[in-house]
Structure formats: structure tokens, C-alpha cells
């Protein structure tokens, strides 16, 4: 009880206060006619990676509609309407570069929402030259030679680093940590940060391997993991579709320890596994649900989900024929940060926006107040770092509920030497990945 109280009180009402302040800044009424500032959405809108891109358009559009309904974004005493242009990069470098050129040269966008990975590698020379913000979902794209690439709205890999602490804190007698994720650049980097953190927290890492992207049958993967007799099976940044299939196998092959992961799509998993099993195995992960009572009433999170359902839910004008996912709001976090930075700076000049964001003691995001951080992880303070929510699956509601909301920076400062050494040993530090 005491522990839970501690965890839940780490970042309580500051989220709400910051958001209310931020939104009020954006909504000061004015009679001046508004100019338009274009922003871009450059991500996979089709193909296998579309799940990380396409839904993000909804969240960005909700933010844009909200700002425009209030007369526009107030920057330097003047209102600017926002307009979004989307380009499908199909998660390929060449398409992404084509899209970046089109968005910048034809539409003069000042900010681009993206997934990252290969498209980030392909576009950064052009976008750096043009001084256009490129916001990736995952922080691993941040590098010192990409001054206008910002990331971190997505909790990866900070959630993967904090989960070893969370489970150790709640279960000090457990020792054996197994971790797996798909074999691709982001998975390798994120897993290295998790392994470093697990070691720093005193776990014995008994399984640390990747599975191929072509894997269709996870039974042998799980058999191999369980052969190491782990107390915790962590799925790191394993993609949600794989997560469901791996958890199903953990259940079928009789695993009784703790399951932990970056993102567990509860609804999908519960089609395959009883809710009681998920509760018993803790199933800790991030990407909280915005209808979680933990956020409080009223809250921006609850309002967002209502607005999303009204615009994109069943029977709505823009019905997208699916339920809301974490990706629907994930991209929007960075758009909000950029907009806030422009307001603080009083200009759309990217250097001044960065300067203002780095100087800010608190940047409002939908996950809570953030700071610009990351120099020791990525070589530059371009990671937006809000507190990290950790949720567990609960059987009574068949949903996940927030158990902790943790500030990353203090935790990292106390352990960084051990963690960075492991990451370097695995060749995944930012200056080793060029």
C-alpha cells in the first residue's frame, strides 16, 4: 500500500495544471486575421508499418482542429492557423526523402511528424539543411548531427529501462530477467538500454536474444526463453502483433512469472489469453488508456478520448472502423511540444524554438510535464522526456490501469554509468551506430 502510494504520487496533479496552462496560452482570443502554418505528416500510411503511422493523423488533426477553433496558434502576438499535409513514406528511405522534399519545397512545412528509423536516416541531411523539425516516435533516432530531429513523446526506450526497476521495487526477491524483441535496428538499440538497466538494478539477464522479423511461429521462441527459467519475461519493444502471439505462447506453455513489455495491446491479448492470467502475471507495460480513472475528472486525457470517439469512432463522420490505439495520440505529443516551443520563443524559427524548449523547466505534454533531456544517451538534449506511466492489466475491467508514473531523469542519473557501459559493450551507443 505504501509502495503503491509512493508510485502513484510521483507526478500527480502537475500534469493537469501544466496542460491547462498550455491550452490557455494557445487559446487567447484575438480578432486579428490568421495566417496559416503548414505541418507535415511523413510516415507509413500503407504497408506493414502503417499501424505506427496512419492512426497518428487522427491525434494530430484533433490538436489542429482544437487550435484552429480557437482562432489559431498564438505566436509572437499573432494567430496562425495550422494545416496538415500527409505523405505516405511506406517506411522506406527513398520515399521518405521524396516526401520530405515535397512537404518542405511545395508546402513549406515547419514541422514533420514521423515514425523514424530508416526514413529518419534518409531525410535528416535534407531536413537539417532546411532547418525543419522532424519529430520521430522513438528517441533512438536522435543524434548530435541531427539538430532539428526531436523525439521522446513515445516512452521508448525509457519505459524499457524503468521496468526492471519497477519489478525489482515490487518483487525484490526475483532475480532472473529474460528479454527478447525483433531483430531490427530500433529493437537492438532499445534492448541494449533495457539490458543495461536490468543489470544496473541487479537482475541476472538469463536470455537476451532477438527473433527474426519473418517469424510467424513463436512457440519455439517461447520454449527457448522458458528453458532459461526466468522470473520475468520482458518483451522490450516487440511489436504489438508479436506481443500478442508471444503472450499466448507464454500462457499455453505454462509460464507463471511476470510478463513485462513496452506496449501490450490488452484488447488483442485478451482474445487469446484469460484476463486472470494477465493480472496474475502483472503484464506491466506503458501506453496507458486515456479512459483510465487515474487521470482524474475532468482531464485532458478523458476529453481527448471523447473527442476522438466523436470524430473517428463508430458512426462518427470520420469513422476509421477501429478502436483508439496508443498511436492515435503518440504523434500528437511532439506536435504539442513544437507548438508550445513556438509560443515560448514567439517565433517559428527552429533554433529559437529549440532554445526555448531547452530553457523551459516544464513542457506540457499529454503524459505529464516534460523536460528536454538526453545528451548522455543520444549526444544532444533533443529528447522530450515526460514522466513514464506504467500500467498493469486488471481482470475486473479487462483493461490496463496505471500503477506508477515515474520521472526518468533522476532514476537515470543514479545508474547511468553502469547502463551506458553495457550499451557500449553491445555496440548500441549513439556514436557506435553511425
Amino acid at each position: 500500500m505504501k509502495k503503491k502510494g509512493f508510485l502513484k504520487s510521483l507526478v500527480p496533479m502537475t500534469t493537469m495544471v501544466s496542460l491547462v496552462v498550455a491550452l490557455s496560452i494557445m487559446t487567447v482570443p484575438t480578432t486579428q486575421a490568421a495566417e496559416t502554418i503548414n505541418i507535415g505528416f511523413l510516415a507509413a500510411l500503407s504497408g506493414p508499418d502503417a499501424g505506427w503511422g496512419l492512426p497518428g493523423i487522427t491525434g494530430n488533426q484533433i490538436f489542429i482542429d482544437r487550435v484552429n477553433a480557437e482562432g489559431g496558434l498564438l505566436v509572437g502576438g499573432k494567430r496562425y492557423k495550422l494545416k496538415m499535409y500527409a505523405f505516405d513514406d511506406e517506411a522506406t528511405g527513398s520515399k521518405a526523402l521524396q516526401g520530405a522534399r515535397q512537404l518542405v519545397l511545395e508546402h513549406d512545412v515547419k514541422f514533420i511528424s514521423a515514425i523514424g528509423g530508416t526514413p529518419a536516416d534518409a531525410t535528416h541531411p535534407f531536413l537539417s539543411k532546411k532547418k525543419v523539425f522532424y519529430a520521430t516516435l522513438i528517441s533512438t533516432d536522435i543524434m548530435p548531427d541531427r539538430p532539428y530531429l526531436i523525439g521522446g513523446g513515445d516512452v521508448t526506450p525509457r519505459i524499457d529501462m524503468l521496468r526492471p526497476w519497477y519489478h525489482k521495487f515490487n518483487n525484490p526477491n526475483l532475480k532472473r530477467w529474460a528479454v527478447t524483441s525483433q531483430d531490427e535496428t530500433i529493437g537492438r538499440t532499445c534492448q541494449a538500454w533495457e539490458v543495461g538497466s536490468a543489470i544496473a538494478e541487479g537482475w541476472d539477464v538469463v536470455y537476451d536474444k532477438h527473433f527474426s522479423l519473418e517469424t510467424t511461429d513463436f512457440a519455439p521462441v517461447v520454449t527457448a526463453i522458458l528453458a532459461t527459467k526466468p522470473d520475468v519475461v520482458s518483451l522490450n519493444l516487440t511489436w504489438p502483433d508479436y506481443v500478442t502471439l508471444i503472450i499466448e505462447q507464454l500462457y499455453l506453455q505454462g509460464f507463471k512469472g511476470i510478463i513485462s513489455g513496452n506496449y501490450i495491446d490488452t484488447e488483442s491479448v485478451l482474445q487469446k489469453v484469460p484476463a486472470e492470467y494477465m493480472e496474475a502475471t502483472k503484464s506491466a507495460n506503458s501506453f496507458p488508456l486515456f479512459d483510465d480513472p487515474w487521470w482524474g475528472e475532468p482531464s485532458w486525457q478523458h476529453e481527448f478520448i471523447k473527442e476522438w470517439n466523436a470524430k473517428y469512432g463508430p458512426g462518427a463522420p470520420g469513422d476509421v472502423h477501429r478502436k483508439i490505439t496508443g498511436i492515435d495520440w503518440d504523434h500528437m505529443i511532439m506536435l504539442m511540444v513544437w507548438a508550445h516551443g513556438a509560443q515560448l520563443a514567439g517565433t517559428f524559427d527552429p533554433d529559437k524554438i529549440l532554445e526555448a524548449l531547452r530553457a523551459a523547466k516544464s513542457i506540457p505534454t499529454i503524459l505529464g510535464p516534460a523536460v528536454m533531456y538526453g545528451k548522455e544517451m543520444w549526444g544532444i538534449d533533443n529528447m522530450v522526456s515526460p514522466p513514464i506511466p506504467i500500467a498493469e492489466v486488471k481482470a475486473d475491467c479487462k483493461c490496463k490501469r496505471i500503477q506508477a508514473h515515474i520521472k526518468f531523469e533522476e532514476w537515470f542519473e543514479a545508474r547511468k554509468d553502469t547502463i551506458i557501459k553495457v550499451v557500449k559493450d553491445k555496440g548500441q551507443y549513439f556514436d557506435q551506430r553511425k
Binding site: G47, G51, L213, E214, T216, P220, D265
Partner: protein, 289 residues
């Protein structure tokens, strides 16, 4: 490796082999008759899974009926593919292959447009829980694959060896010109082969839908495995495909368990390369006169 892990790995291998065999056998059949290299075979598999999604997950139809519904549905798509693509490109394997590569894209896009993109479709597991077989825990849905594969492969063998039309198919596969001289209609046989290939891919997708990530792109990775199986088995040999499916199932599963899943993919492809070097016609393929 501990005994429990070993038994579990054997069980996993048998299930994997059954899956590969069910998926690959249609591909081998289509190639055997008039060399129809169907690049869209993986998408037939995907559509079979979507039939289960629509009828079972959305429509509430009992799972076995939804699986049965996939058979005629995808068989018809197979027939249409033969009529619209393979028949006009007959005699040009590459043209048929490339045209069906285009069909792959069309079917993926259509599925995405109709049923949406984002993450996998939610399909409840019809038979939750696991069977304990000699210490190995296998989900009931996966256990079901083994007898289903045996029945499907047995039916195909019976059809090809005991039924007149099946014998005609084999004759056509061995020597189309001689078969035509005997009064066998090549058009009917190619249509029949593609209908059966579609039905088998469809039923495989339908059976696997609850244990697979159902997305418009789910056929892509399995197609690669299916081609490896067909090439290793001998391009037009059904028996060879079944043998190769189980060999590859055991190799993939054991290498994954002992080493890792990334190495398993490499070893699988290396296995294909070695077979082709040692026996270029595949395990049970024959050189045509």
C-alpha cells in the same frame, strides 16, 4: 537441452511442419500443372484468414463453419486467377509470376481498404487452453492443425491417385502435350489445380487465423517459407513438399530453441541452398525428359 524442452521442441516442430505442409502443398500443385508460379499464394492464405475474421470474429458463425466457408471462397479466387492471369500468360512462367506479384499488391491493398490497417485483427481463440502431451504444452488450436493437415494431405493424395480427375492432373503435370492428346483439357486441369491450390491456401489461413497475426501482409513471410518448401521438395512434387515442410519445421524449431530465431531463418535458407547444390531438382523432383 532438458527433456521437457526437448519434448516441447519436438511437438512445436510437428505443428510447424503441419502448417508449412498445408500452406505449401497448393503452391506445389499449381506449379506442377503448367508451371503456374503463384506469387499471390500468400495472399490466398491471408484471405482465408479474413474469411474467418468476417464470419467468425465479426459475424459470430461457429469457427468450424467459418473455416469451411473459406474453402469455396478462396477456391473461386484461385479459379479467377487462373482464368485472368495464368491462362493468358501460359508458357511464360516469369510473366505469370510477375502478374501475380501485382495481384499480391492488389489483394493486400484491397484487404487494407476494406478491413483497415493498423494492428492485427482481433480473432478470439475458439479453443483456449493447452493439451499436455508427454510433458509438452500445446495449445488446442495448434493441436487441431495436426489432424487437419493429415486429413487435408490425405484427401489430396487420394484425389490425385484414386480419382480420375486427379490422375488427369498428374498426367498433365508430367506431360501436358501427351495428356492433351489423350483428350484431357489443359484449361480444365489448370483451373482445377488453381482451384485446389486456392482452397488449400484458404483453409490453411482460416485454420491459422486464431494463432496468427491477421493483417493484410500476413501472407508475405509465409510465402517465402512456402517457396523454400516447394523448391527443396522438388518444384512439382507434392510428396516432396510435404517431406520438405516437416524437415524445415524441425530445422526452424530446433535452431530457434537452441540458438535463436534469426539464425533459424538463415539455416533454413542455407538448407535450401545445400539441397539445390547436391540435388538440383529438389528432394523428390524429377528431371523431365
Amino acid at each position: 537441452m532438458e527433456l521437457t524442452t526437448f519434448v516441447q521442441t519436438i511437438a512445436n516442430s510437428v505443428v510447424a511442419g503441419s502448417i508449412y505442409a498445408t500452406v505449401a502443398v497448393g503452391l506445389a500443385l499449381a506449379f506442377g500443372v503448367m508451371q503456374m508460379a503463384n506469387h499471390a499464394h500468400g495472399e490466398f492464405f491471408m484471405l482465408g484468414a479474413y474469411v474467418v475474421y468476417v464470419f467468425y470474429a465479426l459475424g459470430g458463425m461457429p469457427f468450424p463453419l467459418a473455416v469451411l466457408a473459406a474453402i469455396p471462397t478462396i477456391a473461386i479466387i484461385g479459379l479467377l486467377t487462373e482464368r485472368l492471369i495464368f491462362r493468358p500468360t501460359r508458357g511464360n512462367v516469369l510473366a505469370g509470376f510477375m502478374a501475380t506479384a501485382g495481384l499480391t499488391w492488389v489483394l493486400q491493398t484491397a484487404a487494407g481498404r476494406i478491413w483497415g490497417l493498423a494492428f492485427m485483427k482481433m480473432i478470439p481463440t475458439p479453443y483456449m487452453g493447452a493439451a499436455n502431451i508427454a510433458g509438452a504444452q500445446i495449445g488446442w488450436q495448434r493441436v487441431l492443425i495436426i489432424p487437419a493437415a493429415c486429413i487435408l494431405l490425405g484427401l489430396l493424395w487420394f484425389f490425385l491417385h484414386r480419382v480420375r480427375w486427379g490422375k488427369a492432373l498428374r498426367a498433365c503435370a508430367q506431360d501436358p502435350e501427351a495428356a492433351a492428346l489423350q483428350g484431357i483439357s489443359i484449361n480444365k486441369m489448370t483451373a482445377l489445380a488453381m482451384g485446389i491450390a486456392g482452397a488449400y491456401a484458404g483453409v490453411a489461413g482460416a485454420l491459422l487465423a486464431p494463432i496468427h497475426a491477421v493483417t493484410p501482409y500476413m501472407g508475405r513471410d509465409l510465402l517465402i517459407t512456402a517457396f523454400i518448401v516447394v523448391i527443396v521438395g522438388g518444384m512439382s512434387s507434392i510428396e516432396g513438399a510435404v517431406l520438405a515442410a516437416f524437415l524445415l519445421g524441425f530445422i526452424h524449431t530446433f535452431v530457434t530453441t537452441i540458438f535463436d530465431a534469426t539464425s533459424a531463418v538463415m539455416v533454413g535458407v542455407a538448407f535450401m541452398a545445400i539441397i539445390l547444390i547436391v540435388k538440383p531438382t529438389g528432394l523428390m523432383g524429377r528431371v523431365k525428359a
